[in-house]
Amino acid sequence: MFSASHRLHSEAMSPEENQSTYGKCNNPHGHGHNYALEVTVSGPVDERTGMICNLVDLDNFVDREILERFDHQNLNTLAEFTGEVPTTENLCASIYEIVQGGFRHARLEKVRLEETMMNSFEYAGGAEIRR
């Protein structure tokens, strides 16, 4: 879980188009969410440990690389969102790329990100998600 603020606004659109596309989310001062993150990894069970990977390694990675980076930040001020609108679609894909690029102990299957209790997003590197 992490909490962050964002504003949905595209430099490529006129003020009117930004307003009609993003509605309340275009408020210039931004607004925030509590994001709930799920990282799913897969792999064979190690015969010695009975584990796919050590959960401590996964926890430490997510704490260091994701929560440290995004928690209590304004997403619009971060490098990955200087040229990209910080929608939860794009945030979900950014988190996937960070885990995919850095976590070596198991295979990343997908990242699921809840923006609110009513809306959630999933990304598997562009691939179809296995049922």
Binding site: T21, G23, E89, M118, F121, E122, Y123, E128
Partner: protein, 136 residues
């Protein structure tokens, strides 16, 4: 490709009855659910759509439009209704949670333009849900 899931809730009543079966068979198969006066549930619906993120907006689908379609096509038709008596697809089909998921898929799939329907999940109670992916 990104997947977006929108949740909604509705309350409805139903009962299970197959007119081709005897009253005894209906009672044996459907048990308490065969009571012709009906009973109700608070249903939770999760609709998942998939598509590529529009590079201009950063959206896979306009959530406002998705909400409007969901409200118009599903919630307005099902919320606070007696499914067997008020919802046309259940005049002949038994309104099980399985058939409810299929019915909601059939209501939504033709109306979605920018993203593709991926899954309809219907919780009848917190302990029981059905997934439908659109197979015939």
């Amino acid at each position: 490709m990104v997947y977006l899931t929108r949740k909604a809730e509705f309350s409805a009543s139903h009962y299970y009855h197959n007119p081709d079966l005897t009253p005894e068979e209906n009672r044996r198969i459907f048990g308490k659910c065969n009571n012709p006066n009906g009973h109700g549930h608070n249903y939770t619906l999760e609709v998942t759509v998939k598509g590529d993120v529009d590079p201009r907006s950063g959206f896979v689908v306009d959530l406002k439009q998705l909400k409007e379609i969901l409200n118009r096509e599903v919630l307005d038709a099902l919320d606070h209704r007696f499914l067997n008596k008020e919802v046309p697809e259940f005049f002949t089909r038994i309104p099980t949670t399985e058939n409810l998921a299929i019915g909601i898929w059939q209501r939504l799939a033709p109306k979605l333009k920018t993203a593709q329907l991926h899954r309809v999940r219907v919780y009848e109670t917190p302990d029981l849900f059905v997934d439908f992916y659109g197979e015939a």
